[in-house]
Symmetry: C2
Subunit: 216 residues, 2 copies
Amino acid sequence: MSRVVLHNYFRSSTSYRVRIALNLKGVAYDYVAHHLRHGEHRDAAFLAVNPQGLVPALVWTDGTVVTQSLAICEFLDEAIREPALLPADAPGRARVRAISQMIACEIHPVNNLRVLNALRTRYGADDSGVADWFRHWVNETFAPLEEMLAKSPHTGRFCHGDAPGLADICLVAQVANNARFNVDMTPYPTIACIRDACMELPAFADAAPARQPDAE
Amino acid sequence: MSRVVLHNYFRSSTSYRVRIALNLKGVAYDYVAHHLRHGEHRDAAFLAVNPQGLVPALVWTDGTVVTQSLAICEFLDEAIREPALLPADAPGRARVRAISQMIACEIHPVNNLRVLNALRTRYGADDSGVADWFRHWVNETFAPLEEMLAKSPHTGRFCHGDAPGLADICLVAQVANNARFNVDMTPYPTIACIRDACMELPAFADAAPARQPDAE
């Protein structure tokens, strides 16, 4: 059994998700940084691990390589059952996965670095245009997410009850990204409150971009 | 116990995923169509089911509402165990989820209707520009996906072995979308071959957009 290795980048919000999950599960890991802006994730050694050249990529103790942040989180949840990242009941799991996917499939992909760069190169978007694009897609999903969370009896101190899980992982990483584009969180008091509750936990706080070895 | 209801739209590829999953599981369902271009999914009755106003949304026999296509597929896989949409082993499940998320988190969100519309309204993109954008993001992920599938000993007649599952569901729906934007599939023989194998199965063929009651 080797040590777990996480190929990641401090500012990548999908990497941030996996760091939180590893911390919640109490898994110690070797941090291997790949600087996205410098193209280090395209080097040959990393492409041998993940042909897609994207972070995060997890190398488990038995050598299994897992990519895609939500797949990694589910893998960790199956490998180490406690504390669970998903509820015990099927409707609860569906709710947590749906909240996670609202962020992971609707907000983040449209707003990640390579898409923002494409807006600049293809359509001449400037910093202000890129920021407006970013905020638009956050608001499109955060508005219904806020309503869902505020109205549901399943929402507790965290997105689902009083223990943190997969949805909180996605929420915290997204809110961190939002800050870089000055997203106004005033319309989202429930989301903001859950984010604050998470950041009181070392598993979340220690995973923050600014605390990573490659932070600038 | 009521009948299962699927709120969907024939052309929506996320709806297409769920239709395949329901067919594979042998679940009969009531088809409720919401015409995305006409804004029907924003009507009050549907917003009561899904405050986000997006399709697909599944209403299960006990009234549980599940949104987000991958969350719905996982819910179905937990509710009805056979045939399984995910492999029995954890690394296999991680591989299938990762392939699914390459499509669901990297390609589809950047290319869905509302993002393409935003390119038109914000940046004056024309049909040609929109098609080029679409193909760019497909190719960005299909190139490494083709390599992953072609090189892996886990790939069989389908993405993972010789039974169809979650990854095939995502693959087939994406390839159908690609055809609308004339994506050249020549560089992707493995993906094309898996797609063809899927379409020989009634569960996939019957879920195709053209076969739905709201097809135009």
